[in-house]
């Protein structure tokens, strides 16, 4: 029929266009060039400033590590919920996005040694009735029973409350494991989002890393927000923040590990940590 000749060639043209579009992208990578993904919505680790540029602890650390490992690095932005699948799909080569080492993640990707760590906890508005929460420092790694006992004591305070966490994080796993029987857990795309909703009064409490909360409180709309309650770390909350890599990239991992070690020894990580967090977040190694 008359439609056939046109569409055949249109078909052909289409396939040619697609092939041409894909072909240049399938070139093999030169070893020295490394693309690092970060979230860009997790101050002070990584965020976007008003000029639209990426800034933060990890952005500077990445430049530092790449220099030490003699790699040519480019930093790209990637939403948190797709950050691991895109690494596996080779969209980039490494993740530096405040990502904690967890056993579940280790099933899919590999990590370097941790370059930072820090406790997780709760943030509420000043006028919240949760302000009186008892404090303390608990580690699920070293004292699981004690930590869980402390959590049990906290539970009545959370009855009927709404807890906001970033989805697919150690925080959301923690909240869902320990608090979903008493409170409503709301999953957000970014920490910025649950901070906004906390200020708006849509949630009663947010759960995230203390370092992230500090940036919010110091920032433009952290007015009236306060970190309360105990500091949690370890176990379900991860074993430190490290660079995420594909499991087969052992060479890259070794290079970055060496770079991290040397940066630790030179005190550079501590310096960056003081600059961005106000405290030293370097893990004892």
């Amino acid at each position: 029929m008359s439609m056939i000749p046109q569409l055949k060639s249109r078909n052909l043209a289409f396939s040619a266009v697609v092939a041409a579009a894909l072909l240049p992208l399938t070139g093999a990578m030169a070893q020295e060039k490394v693309t690092i993904a970060t979230e860009g919505a997790y101050a002070p680790w990584n965020f976007v400033n008003s000029q639209g540029q990426l800034e933060g602890f990890e952005v500077e650390l990445a430049a530092e590590l790449c220099e030490r490992a003699e790699l040519d690095c480019e930093i790209v932005m990637q939403d948190w919920d797709g950050i691991i699948p895109s690494l596996v799909a080779k969209k980039y080569d490494a993740i530096m996005a405040g990502m904690n080492i967890t056993p579940t993640r280790k099933e899919t990707i590999d990590f370097t040694q941790p370059y930072a760590g820090g406790p997780h906890g709760f943030m509420v508005m000043e006028d919240s009735d949760l302000v009186g929460m008892p404090g303390g420092e608990y580690s699920l790694t070293t004292d699981e029973a004690g930590t869980e006992a402390a959590i049990e004591e906290l539970k009545p305070l959370f009855e009927g409350k709404i807890i906001g966490v970033q989805g697919s994080t150690t925080n959301s796993n923690f909240a869902e494991k320990y608090f979903s029987d008493v409170a409503e857990i709301r999953l957000y795309k970014t920490t910025e989002q649950h901070d906004l909703d906390l200020a708006a009064g849509r949630i009663d409490v947010a759960l995230a890393a203390h370092s992230a909360f500090k940036a919010t409180i110091d920032g433009p709309s952290g007015e009236g927000m306060v970190v309360v309650g105990p500091e949690f770390s370890g176990g379900l909350l991860g074993m430190g923040v490290a660079v995420g890599l594909r499991q087969e990239d052992t060479e890259l991992r070794d290079k970055l590990d060496a770079a991290i070690t040397s940066a630790k020894e030179d005190g550079v990580i501590e310096e960056l940590s003081m600059k961005w967090f106000g405290i030293d977040m370097t893990p004892a190694s």
């Binding site: 919920d81 797709g82 691991i84 596996v88 697919s168 709301r186 909703d197 708006a200």
Partner: protein
Amino acid sequence: MDFAYLAESFWRLLGGVPLTLQLAGTSVAVGFIVALTFALAMYGRVWPLNWVAEAFVFVFRGTPLLVQIFLIYYGLGQFRPELTDFGLWGFFRSPYYCALLALSLNTAAYSAEIIRGGLLSVPRGAIESARAYGMSGPTLYRRIIGPIALRQALPAYGNEIILMIKATSLASTITLLEITGVAHKLISETFRAIEVFLCAGALYLLINSILAFAVRRAERWIAPDLERTEVAATVH
């Protein structure tokens, strides 16, 4: 393709169905009432009302639903003190009500056009003869304008209902866990996009097929003599 996982994801996705249906059903119902009001305002002759209705329809049809959702949920959240003063904060605090509001207003705009199209399709002659018989006001609407407009509008409105089921998936962007919300959560936890997508897609197709079937039945019941023609795409 892991079939055990397929079954498991299907089961978990089913948990999102009630919220999907609730959102769609309520917004269609509320939207219909609002649409009816606006359609009558646009059809009528009170100029200020006419203008407000036209403006409303213009804005809500001319912008994406996602923008409307974000504007209502995030944008209005900025005015919490003012809203609390008016006692409205309880409403805007909840993502469910915000989504409902956005969906209802959105469907109201499209439905208003559909209803107006139906009203305009009523032949002048029919109205004139009815008036000659002394019919006016509610009787005129109930006996002549209503049925004819309904027959004309039903296919397009049925399409609109199906579009609303699909539109509820956008509620997942403001933390609501309807089908797409659950699917997104599953995908980002286990990275098995294809299995989860197949299940979620199948669920939506199932719901929409049942709806399409019901609408066709309704069409046949309302107007057994009219031939069914392919509805042109007016989508969100």
